[in-house]
Symmetry: C2
Subunit: 377 residues, 2 copies
Amino acid sequence: MNDTTTTTTTSQEFRFELDATCGNARAGRIHTAHGTVETPAFMTVGTYGAVRGMSPDGVRATGAQIILSNTLHLYLRPGLEVIDLHGGLHRMMGWDGPILTDSGGFQLMSLKSMLRIDDEGVDLRSPIDGSRHRLTPALVMEVQRRLGVDIAMVFDHCPAADASDAFKREAMDRSTRWAAQCLDQPRAPGQAVFGIVQGGVDLALRREHLAAIAELAPDGLALGGLAVGEGPQEMDRVVSAIAPEMPAEKPRYLMGVGFPRDLVASVQGGIDLFDCVIPTRHARNGQLFTPEGRINIANSRFRHDDGPVDPECDCLTCQRFTLAYLKHLYQTKEILYSTLATTHNLRFYQRLMRRLRQAIMDNNKARLAALSAQFAG
Amino acid sequence: MNDTTTTTTTSQEFRFELDATCGNARAGRIHTAHGTVETPAFMTVGTYGAVRGMSPDGVRATGAQIILSNTLHLYLRPGLEVIDLHGGLHRMMGWDGPILTDSGGFQLMSLKSMLRIDDEGVDLRSPIDGSRHRLTPALVMEVQRRLGVDIAMVFDHCPAADASDAFKREAMDRSTRWAAQCLDQPRAPGQAVFGIVQGGVDLALRREHLAAIAELAPDGLALGGLAVGEGPQEMDRVVSAIAPEMPAEKPRYLMGVGFPRDLVASVQGGIDLFDCVIPTRHARNGQLFTPEGRINIANSRFRHDDGPVDPECDCLTCQRFTLAYLKHLYQTKEILYSTLATTHNLRFYQRLMRRLRQAIMDNNKARLAALSAQFAG
């Protein structure tokens, strides 16, 4: 599984190349119609077609090569007419790099807006205006086609962690059927479609679903339904067991993860792609990432600290602004605080991914282990 | 009064040059230790040492040559220790251009935090933490010295518009004495100090106070206590009568003004400098300036408008983003909305000031009149 040869071309524009491996960890490149993503990669989240507090140029300046947005949220607001008006999401949001959209299955659970689910789709009530909608695999793929994103995700049914075994089985089988339907739908030019593997923390279920999804030959495979409360040890156990069994010639994406420790552990398990709101949301809440762990800008010790958040960091915030000033902006609720804090956290994540990639390219297990140790706990 | 010769050098670094006049309107340059401001100029407001929603680079990109911050607010938060830690406001906020600070007299009125005023100063209760402070002319100048701003304002007593004539007279006389004390205090290197002329809408009082303040030989003179509810016609009447009588060899600053129409009218009256929260605050509230007047981004007609806010505008927002997208960002409460809207409004103001300056440099009264007509009403 750990060869380093160039692999499958799965659609006209989309292509994944494996550059190197180090144990189970992989370094590669995902080529899309809007550019190349070096992996392992962290996808910056812009749920509504904007990264909170950041301009597209600001996002690019953090080193981001790909962003993630959300099909369901964009379908509800601004809606397909507005997306069509712009000819898709790239032009609407002014981001000309690769975009992946989550399909909305997970959001149905987290928004609690699902009214009814059956084998053909989901009835939901919009949390914005109460309007009713019916989502089907075909509609979700149509939305992603009209968004024109580089990577679309299949529509799946992500059951709650505390659902019964029978319900989880039903959700898994439904997700497989929906994935097959999604992969049969028309696509935007060059658009890849990734499948989603469910199965919770049960390795037998995960393996069964992985086999079923892999059989459908999606352009990449994702692990869904993790980081939903099972804890890092359980997540590591599932990822380290399942990721190496995912098709080596396709990108492997761990959805909604995570903290720096999760990224380091999961890259070592063989994951290539991540997304998470943690760096952006934590920034706005005063939490800034440093090599020594997170700091809370509200802490009184920063009132008189004229150093940067992280002396090693090359982000705009660390180059130009002090902790004392950031604390002042946070306390006066200045919008600029969110921008500067988010800039730093996103750059921190991108630098971490670069270090992981470099260690893999150098086949340096000791350096990967050192990163594990640094971010443990 | 309308000569065009180079005028007084009033301190080591601060210098005002008059480049041209057109009727009472003036074009000039204010030279400071942190750079030159071409006038007439609009000062972008960053009350707490940051412009809402904008980075220093973003402010600079709108064409801003000078920003305004607030002595009283910065004294209360983050306080002098933090300002000293940075060696002043320029480094703290990452803005290396000229800065003017308002002294806080007006804010004492608007915050309703004044407990007691006497001839030596003001007792106030902090609206942030309830702490009590005593502001005196000497303290206010010390704060501005430690802020290291290029232009400091004298501490004055700005009475409410509905105060009795006797109280207004008392406030005016007190302001004159305080101005004299302020002008006697130590300054930061190259720092200019401007006097403030009160007197409400009573031309006789205004003239009397102007004479008293001019006698103290400040580096520039401001008109305070306007745009506080008297209406544009009354303001125009006062400005057009008083501004031409202000010393021609010094900058003339109309505090807290205003809408585009106010700027055009007041420039024609002979004003050189303005500041106002309108472009920034209105932006955040959905109000965007265009040559045809203000638009409200919440209006449903923008939902399907893929044009820019203003096709003539060269700001980042108009170059890269549509009205439909801005409306989407506004409705989803994305922080990026505030940044993009503020960028546009500030650029709109800067472009207006450039057009006014160019018309004056060209001695083109017809063009000034056309701008008046365009922004009337």
